[in-house]
């Protein structure tokens, strides 16, 4: 299973699950990263981290460590 951190810039994926049950997992889900939602990876910040995504029609920034917790499958 791949994660959001492994996508190529410009590619899209479908969310399968967010791992963990801590506050960070809850926060990721609150922001709309829930199963079935489509995410587009727009690219990294100039220094390589964090990463920029489009989800639910808005732009979201996640660090690599956070993106790794979101499991995805091809759209």
């Amino acid at each position: 299973m791949s994660t959001l951190a492994e996508l190529a810039p410009g590619s899209r994926a479908r969310i399968v699950a967010v791992t963990g049950s801590d506050a960070i997992a809850a926060r990721l889900m609150e922001m709309g990263l829930i199963e079935g939602e489509t995410v587009e990876y727009l690219g990294p910040a100039p220094l390589g981290d964090p990463l920029e995504f489009r989800v639910c029609g808005y732009r979201l920034s996640l660090r690599q460590t956070e993106a790794r917790r979101v499991q995805v499958s091809p759209p």
Binding site: V18, S21, D22, A23, I24, A25, A26, R27, L28, M29, E30, M31, G32, I34, E35, G43, A45, P46, L47, G48, D49, P50, E52, R54, C56, G57, Y58, R59, L60, S61, L62, R63, T65, E66
Partner: protein, 775 residues
């Protein structure tokens, strides 16, 4: 008088909530802090038809899942559990129409607190641009909530909103049980929790809080709601969560899943979003501004511009401020004869007010930029770009702008930390911000480097010793801040790294009205709430430097000096007038023998020549009289300062500062500079009998000796003083702003203690090591 209607305003960040708040309350808001937390309490009064209403502006949030006491405030206000704040009659929930799905998540939570909700659809223009279409009537029907469409920045829809709020407040048709999105198995556990709390004789909790207890693993409530049964509650919750997991209701996923499912059902057929989003201007701009190279260059240029604007742009304004203060002190001072009252008014009161106002240029300029960048959407990108660098010290990208601003002045820098939502990150940033070398340290460095560092240049005049020393001193604070931030994070704010889950909002034109309101609000908050304390400290330090002591001799001398100086000014004016007359007469004479003119000008020339000589004679007499009088006055002032409380304290702490290579005079300078670092320069000017002047101070320092004749100052001593000032917390304004921003005296006290200890140890090491090195 009727009781005002209470309206809570809540919404996600970047939805135009502040604009709406200002549109409703006309930006006449009362600001304060909720007790015990750093959350700002903002209440604006407005009229809704015939009724008066108080609008409570709750902090922007994506969710009502409290992870800290700060985040608990919004929940407590909505539930009527917040002391000093009445329970709202109506909740106005503002949402970004271009991003309904995520925005409705908060709405879904807010509906469950059991208050009438009015939904405000804002930014419909952005939605249209993104190709999002919706049917507000149908949406209102499906949600069962009144909906008002607004364009808050254009003041559109505000009257409709006022009506809708009144209507919602009057309507007593709220369902007895608020709507729920949760499955029955989850609600059954909520009921079981209520029974369990009753069994422990704990006060009953509303359903909303019981849900939060079950969902928020490691949340604030879990560790605080149990009171004396805390451990039992945590164990009970763990079992309940295990039971829920067995029934396919795993927390916390159950909440997001249930809410988003309900939201999708609601939006099905009401809102359409294009499958492939159109490339908007904002998208193209973002590609440029977050580009690996171009984005970085633009960022660096922008930050340099902001820094220059605060550092240099504020300088002339601050000079005007100081000049105005001096003028006012002179103007008011002449109404009083020299004495304690005059000194209190000119040095204590006018000086104290000036020391508050002098910060306003920097605060206004910084917040002008911050408000512009925040409102147009770039601030989130700045955090996005700098995050990787800032994570190295355990902070996030949001700490960058406050810390950068602190290089000009920590006061606006600390005020700018409000954009950091995470409490731990915000406190760490506040605590290290005063280490950044601010403009008030420059006069101290300039004096000591000028007096004790050779003007030697290397590498073909490119590299100077003085410039290197100045650079080293400026960099020192930032270098020390890195391990300090790391240690603070490790020992004071342990726990997992807070997530950097941040929305990058669409770019838009900033609204001048909102920018102005934000700047005005910050400046006012500083003057009203930190200003009074800064002013009072100034008065106290003035008194410590004035009392005790018999000022009659110095006042008499000052009266004589003033009288002589007044005469000096008159004589100078007379001299200038006579010089002009003489020149005119000479000109007439030189123009040739034309009869009448010659006859008149000859005696005129002689008269003005005599008057001129008389004036010059008197001037030189005044000069000779003034010199010894001033010297005696300055010596008397120096003696009075030594005898004052401040001077005695300086003597008392001499044993403590001796290992740093300092004598009592430097000790007094450091004590007197508590209101502001640069005050040490004028204090040393007073101590060395220069009447507080800086001219000649470097010579005075070089020739100062210990009682046994050894020179006091040397390169190691200069270094030790500079290192101390680089790291110490000798700035009452910074400490007062820390107090105001953290809403806790202890953080200000902690900053003072840790920085003073750090400065002392560093100065001690500097002195002892450099003395061993330089001999």
């Amino acid at each position: 008088m009727t009781i005002p209607l209470v309206v809570a305003l809540i919404g996600n960040p970047n939805t135009g909530k502040s604009t709406l708040f200002n549109a409703l309350s006309g930006s006449r808001a009362l600001t304060g802090n909720y007790p015990g937390v750093t959350v700002e309490k903002k209440i604006g009064r407005t009229r809704l038809g015939t009724r008066v209403a108080d609008i409570i502006d709750l902090p922007g949030t994506y969710s009502l899942a409290p992870r800290s006491l700060d985040e608990m405030v919004a929940v407590d206000v909505l539930l009527g559990r917040q002391p000093d704040t009445p329970r709202p009659d109506v909740v106005v929930c503002i949402v970004d129409a271009s991003n309904l799905e995520r925005n409705l998540y908060l709405v879904s939570q807010v509906r469950e607190v059991g208050l009438p909700v009015v939904l405000v659809l804002n930014m419909t223009d952005v939605a249209a641009e993104k190709g999002v279409t919706f049917n507000p009537g149908q949406l209102s029907e499906r949600l069962g909530l009144p909906i008002v469409s607004t364009e808050a920045h254009r003041h559109r829809g505000i009257d409709e909103l006022r009506e809708a709020i009144l209507k919602a407040a009057d309507r007593h048709t709220l369902p007895a049980t608020p709507p729920t999105v949760f499955p029955p198995a989850f609600l059954a556990e909520c009921d079981a929790l209520a029974a369990q709390l009753e069994q422990w004789n704990l006060p009953p909790l509303p359903l909303f809080l019981r849900q939060r207890l079950l969902i928020d693993v490691g949340g604030w409530l879990e560790s605080h709601a149990g009171q004396q049964h805390s451990a039992e509650l945590v164990a009970w919750l763990q079992q309940a969560r295990a039971r829920l997991a067995d029934q396919a209701c795993q927390v916390p996923a159950i909440e997001a899943r249930s809410r988003y499912r309900a939201i999708r059902e609601t939006l099905q057929g009401v809102v359409t979003r294009p499958e492939v989003p159109p490339s908007t201007f904002s998208d193209r701009l973002d590609r440029l501004l977050t580009h690996q190279l171009v984005g970085l260059v633009i960022f660096v240029l922008l930050m340099l511009a902001i820094f220059q604007a605060i550092y240099r742009g504020a300088a002339p304004l601050m000079e005007w401020c100081e000049a105005g203060q001096e003028w006012l002190a002179d103007f008011v001072g002449q109404w009083f004869s020299p004495g304690p009252l005059q000194s209190l008014i000119t040095d204590g009161i006018i000086g104290g007010v000036g020391s508050v106002l002098v910060f306003l240029p920097q605060i206004v300029i910084l917040f002008l930029f911050i408000a512009l960048l925040e409102d147009c959407g770039y601030m989130a990108r700045a955090a996005f770009i700098m995050d990787k660098l800032m994570t190295r010290v355990g902070l996030s990208g949001k700490s960058f702008v406050p810390l950068m601003s602190s290089f000009a002045c920590a006061v606006p820098g600390i005020m700018a930390t409000r954009t950091i939502e995470n409490r731990q990150d915000r406190l760490t940033t506040i605590l290290v911000a005063p280490l950044m070398s601010c403009s008030a340290r420059q006069p101290v460095y300039a004096l000591l480097i000028g007096a004790f560092f050779p003007a030697t240049y290397f590498a073909g005049n490119w590299l100077g010793v003085r410039e290197l020393a100045l650079f080293g001193m400026t960099a020192l604070g930032a270098v020390v801040a890195i391990p300090t931030a790391w240690l603070l994070k490790k020992f004071f704010f342990p726990g997992e790294t807070p997530p950097f889950v941040m929305e990058l909002p669409s770019y838009k034109w900033p609204s001048p009205r909102l920018v102005f309101a934000r700047v005005y609000d910050r400046a006012r908050a500083f003057v009203m709430r930190a200003g009074t304390l800064i002013f009072m400290t100034n008065i106290l330090v003035w008194a410590a430097g004035y009392f005790p002591g018999d000022h009659s001799r110095v006042d008499a001398l000052q009266t004589q000096v003033s009288a002589l100086e007044e005469e000096q000014a008159t004589q100078e004016a007379e001299r200038d007038r006579q010089t002009a007359l003489k020149a005119k007469a000479e000109l007439v004479l030189a123009s040739g023998p034309t009869g009448r003119g010659m006859v008149q000008s000859q005696p005129e020339l002689a008269d003005s020549g005599r008057a001129l000589a008389a004036a010059e004679q008197r001037l030189s007499e005044i000069e000779t009289e003034l010199e010894p009088l001033k010297a005696e006055r300055n010596a008397e002032r120096s003696r009075l300062l030594e005898q004052s409380l401040l001077g005695r304290l300086g003597h008392a702490i001499e044993p403590v500062v001796r290992p740093l290579g300092w004598d009592w005079r430097i000790g007094v300078g450091v004590l007197a500079s508590f209101p502001a670092r640069e005050v040490i320069v004028s204090t040393l000017g007073t101590i060395y009998s220069l009447g507080g002047e800086e001219d000649g101070l470097d010579d005075a320092l070089r020739s100062a000796t210990w009682p046994d004749g050894r020179p006091v100052y040397s390169l190691p001593v200069a270094l030790s003083i500079m290192v101390f000032f680089a790291l110490c917390a000798q700035c009452v304004s910074t400490l007062m702003v820390i107090h105001r921003e953290t809403n806790d005296w202890r953080w200000a006290a902690f900053t003072f203690v840790y920085m003073t200890a750090l400065a002392y140890v560093a100065a001690l090491l500097t002195y002892q090591l450099s003395r061993a090195w330089f001999g």
